[in-house]
Symmetry: C2
Subunit: 409 residues, 2 copies
């Protein structure tokens, strides 16, 4: 992609009410635009990151057998009355669709997926299975001040699983846990994201959050350095301020962002919607369910909260908008232009995703050495690049590295 | 994909109020599920078709320089008041977000994209460009009786283009026309979809619809057999019942479904939002805009309206849920099972997308000849398949064809 054709520019003017650091960086870099509190547009480079995160999540959901569907945002009031949440859920957007019809704007999809599953589940032979969807959610947050970390509209991946018995649900729950670890690790959050014990509701002792340690976090967690797990604030008193795995008392308090959560719903929603199956003895039993969520914009913003410095964002390679940022300097010079264009063509031929800064006169002043052209790998600063070998300075630790495009990238 | 693992089953029970033929076929086959009037869930096989249509549209939008973004569904009332549509648009969902804040649920995105573009357009050097997004839209249709052809919630691709002068807008408009032809042609609607002259509003004589001839159509069009273009009902009197291209009077009346429309907005929205640029002489001029829409669920349903017979849906190969439907018969027989499993593996190794009906005892009764296994190409009936050569009967004209997997498919 040629940067000269991008309609977006970087900007120094930020909305005055934007206090979230990740949102400020994303807005400044032209990755996102703020429409109103808690509501953002993803611009071309931000949308590229978003699609890569979506694809990683999709692959990991498919790897544990998730079948992708697409459920609606408009949801009948009746379904929400069956679970009592039409009244009780304060963040629920309610809207009128004509004189006699009220509709919920989906903040989550248990009220839709449970009766849907009921159409296809008759006996134990129809179980287990898992469905997921990646869809806009709407939550009427009273104070939406955390940028993309807590939007009033955001895309969420929800996986729902359906089981005949507790052992089967437990087994799948563990699989989902591992797939969540892979997702956060592929998105560059593996080192700072902790499986966190949280309140389990009426059907299991614990649920689990995935918490990324960050000063921007709205949550407090208590880390066990030995087990690399944590406990959230709501249940720390219940576990007597000790690690639920090893019993250790010296837990470290950290601020953290909840980037995912997994939950055994048990028969809570099955009961509300009469979702039953007949077992091998022909007896009707409630289906057991699990749910597993990740907010995509929150994950994207969390990556920036944990991957930036005073110069700006540092994208992990797997979700960077491009693998290579090619900066063509001194483009007024005909030889320099030819050389940069050749490198751009060669990178594309090698199917390496490249963002080519081909804007004339813009970059030259930035670099007094004026090399012919520079390549900047995702998460790196530019250094001299000579096809087919290129060197660059790591964006994080500033060491100089070398590679051959075709071999390493 | 193994059919035995799909959580969805075909169904004979249809919602009583479902009168749309395409919706009935999609619901019966388990491609979609109805949540309420005008609101549907896409189930795994339907979602696969949907994603293929989305990808075709994305590729064609990128081929004419469209930059993909993702704009929100929640939209501030102020923006809709600027164009007067907060009051005038009867299908607009309006909702309350706290005491003093009203929000529109986006039925279209001119009110968002125009001020967004304004942040990045200063001079003629910033023009032209085009952005598109693929996002849920919401329209409070009073009578949503046409199944997926006219939903109250549906995904739409909108492309918006921005230009310095009329000649540039005209040129891009023609490019968009061609890309739309390619989209409908790739989705299997090329033969029955006509460029249709429609009312142009205040900024151009005509806008254009793409109308697919079908008895399910809600529109009436008048076809010129010579030029292969049409005129819609609203303007047929204005053009004196003659073809706008050749003047011919003998136009053929047909029912048709509007699968896309393209429109020169001129400066209508630029004026409302003060979207100007300074030209080479330093004078401020309004930016000219074009908009180009396609509803994805409507396109999907239109394909079924035009591609089915009394036995069910006939998917065009490019958007079929899988390239091959492998029907394993007589799976109780160990040799038959081995052979079917080998063909399934081989197809996957050759990266051919295959839906493998591996349900034991289910298919055998359907075929008295009991071949070892059958392969059914998209849009074809099964015939004997012997790896690496397979024959099949065309789903449409019933002729028998042969192919080598690796070479032809």
């Amino acid at each position: 992609m040629r940067q000269s054709t991008l309609f977006v520019k970087t900007s120094k003017n930020l909305p005055k009410d934007e206090i979230s650091e990740s949102a400020r960086l994303l807005l400044r870099a032209g990755f996102a635009d703020k429409l109103m509190a808690g509501v953002y547009t993803l611009l071309p480079l931000g949308f590229k990151v978003f699609k890569k995160i979506e694809q990683i999540i999709r692959e990991e959901m498919e790897s544990i057998g998730g079948q992708e569907i697409f459920m609606p945002a408009l949801q009948p009031k009746e379904n929400w009355e069956k679970t009592g949440r039409w009244q009780s859920l304060d963040i629920l957007f309610r809207l009128s669709a004509g004189e006699s019809r009220e509709i919920a704007l989906g903040p989550t999809h248990e009220e839709i997926v449970t009766p849907l599953a009921g159409r296809f589940i008759k006996s134990y032979r129809d179980l287990p299975f898992a469905v997921f969807h990646i869809q806009n959610k709407f939550r009427n947050e009273k104070r939406a001040k955390s940028g993309l970390l807590r939007g009033r509209e955001f895309v969420m991946k929800d996986l729902y699983s359906f089981h005949a018995d507790q052992a089967d649900l437990d087994g799948y729950y563990e699989k989902a846990k591992l797939s969540y670890r892979r997702i956060f690790s592929r998105c560059g959050l593996g080192d700072c994201t902790y499986l966190t014990y949280a309140s389990g509701g009426s059907f299991s002792k614990y649920s689990h959050e995935f918490q990324t340690v960050s000063p921007a976090g709205e949550d407090l967690i208590y880390l066990c350095p030995k087990c690399s797990v944590a406990v959230n604030k709501e249940i720390i008193a219940d576990v007597k301020h000790s690690c639920p795995q090893c019993g250790q008392k010296d837990l470290i308090e950290e601020k953290a962002i909840e980037v995912g959560n997994i939950f055994q719903l048990g028969s809570k929603f099955s009961t509300a919607f009469g979702l039953k199956f007949s077992n091998e003895q022909g007896e009707n039993r409630p289906v057991l369910m699990g749910c597993y969520g990740i907010g995509l914009q929150r994950l994207l913003a969390t990556v920036i909260e944990t991957h930036h410095d005073q110069k700006g964002m540092i994208w992990p390679a797997a979700i960077a908008p491009a693998a290579v940022h090619l900066l063509a300097l001194n483009l007024e010079n005909e030889d320099a232009k030819k050389s940069a264009e050749k490198l751009y063509r060669d990178l594309r031929t090698a199917r390496i995703e490249v963002l080519f800064d081909d804007r004339i006169g813009l970059s030259a002043a930035k670099n007094s050495q004026k090399p012919i052209c520079s390549a900047c790998l995702a998460g790196s600063w530019p250094a001299r690049a000579l096809w087919p070998r290129a060197s660059w300075r790591s964006r994080k630790d500033r060491t100089i590295k070398q590679t051959f495009w075709r071999r390493r990238i």
